[in-house]
């Protein structure tokens, strides 16, 4: 290498070294800058955020659980409602068509409604609970079934025979036990109160049989 070239290399190395140190210094300065602006959170800030998040999630969770419970209750009520309105419709349609509707004691069963198709079969509407020894409808037991027995065809209400119309009936008035089926003058009163897991739905209507 000649002297000229050597000096050039030296010069280059010098410049390179200068440049590198310059870049290093610059980098350090930028790093310092970043460190200053990008501060992260202080403990207080983090705590505030955590507290707010916890509160938000807590309230949301609470409301969610309450809504879920209401939702479940709604599902149960919906089921009862469907059954009660179906039973109501069925009994009302039956009674509208029938002749000779009477509030009767059928065998040992008190408070039944006996009705007769015009020139046809005789039916008995009655409340039934297999654990009830006297087969009455004064709601001695917690839950009763409403059944419709076709007497002409040999259904025996004493042993719970007949078509099931509605289940889980309770007394319309807990204080003074009444029945779901009553008749005054020409009107039949249907007062269905159905209870399933703490949910109670009550539907009441009257019907005046058309063929009396």
């Amino acid at each position: 290498m000649d002297a000229e070239r050597r000096s050039t290399v030296c010069q280059c190395a010098y410049i390179y070294r200068q440049l590198l140190s310059h870049v290093l210094v610059e980098t350090m300065q930028v790093w310092e800058k970043i460190k200053v602006t990008n501060q992260g959170f202080t403990l207080i800030e983090t705590l505030i955020v955590l507290l707010l998040l916890a509160m938000l999630l807590g309230v949301t969770g609470f409301v969610f659980v309450v809504s879920l419970r209401a939702w479940d209750a709604g599902l149960i009520r919906g089921g009862i409602r469907e059954d009660v309105s179906y039973a109501m419709e069925k009994v009302v349609r039956d009674l509208k068509e029938m002749a000779n509707v009477s509030l009767d004691q059928y065998d040992s069963i008190a408070h039944t409604i006996q009705f007769e198709e015009t020139g046809g079969d005789t039916y008995v509407l009655y409340l039934y609970n297999s654990a009830d020894p006297v087969f009455n409808s004064r709601y001695n037991r917690s839950l009763y079934n409403l059944r419709k027995a076709n007497i002409t065809q040999g259904d025996d209400p004493d042993s719970g025979e007949g078509v099931l119309i509605l289940r889980d009936l309770v007394s319309p008035d807990a204080a003074s036990p009444a029945t779901a089926l009553t008749i005054s003058s020409n009107q039949v009163t249907l007062d269905f109160v159905v209870q399933r897991s703490d949910e109670t739905v009550r539907l009441r209507t009257k019907i005046r049989p058309r063929n009396l």
Partner: protein, 118 residues
């Protein structure tokens, strides 16, 4: 520049999340309300029919407009209104309305029929 979040940004994010969750809760509430709405109208419809059957069973002359301010056993009901107008001497137009209050407004169901003097 990698700055991370500031407190303000996080708070905005929380508010957005809260708004979203609130909408969800609102939806649930609407569904639950719709459910009880259905139950009230079903019960009221039966009570209106009850009144109509009572009137059909009573004397023609005693079929007249009347208002019951409450129905025992059905505390949600505000009132049950019977409106009677005479179409001619032997025919009455009878309308029974059962009203109740829900969601801050008055709801009602109506049944209507003619009762003849026969």
């Amino acid at each position: 520049m990698k700055q991370g979040f500031t407190l303000i940004e996080l708070l905005i994010a929380i508010i957005l999340a809260a708004t979203g969750l609130m909408v969800l809760m609102q939806l649930m509430g609407v569904a639950i309300f719709a459910d009880s709405d259905l139950e009230y109208s079903l019960t009221s419809l039966n009570l209106a029919n009850e009144k109509l059957e009572e009137l059909k069973d009573s004397d023609y002359s005693s079929v007249a407009s009347a208002t019951e301010s409450s129905i025992s056993g059905f505390s949600f009901v505000d009132d049950r209104i019977v409106t009677v107008s005479e179409v001619n001497t032997d025919l009455k137009d009878v309308q029974v309305e059962v009203r109740w209050t829900q969601k801050g407004g008055q709801q009602s169901v109506n049944v209507r029929t003619y009762i003849a003097n026969y």
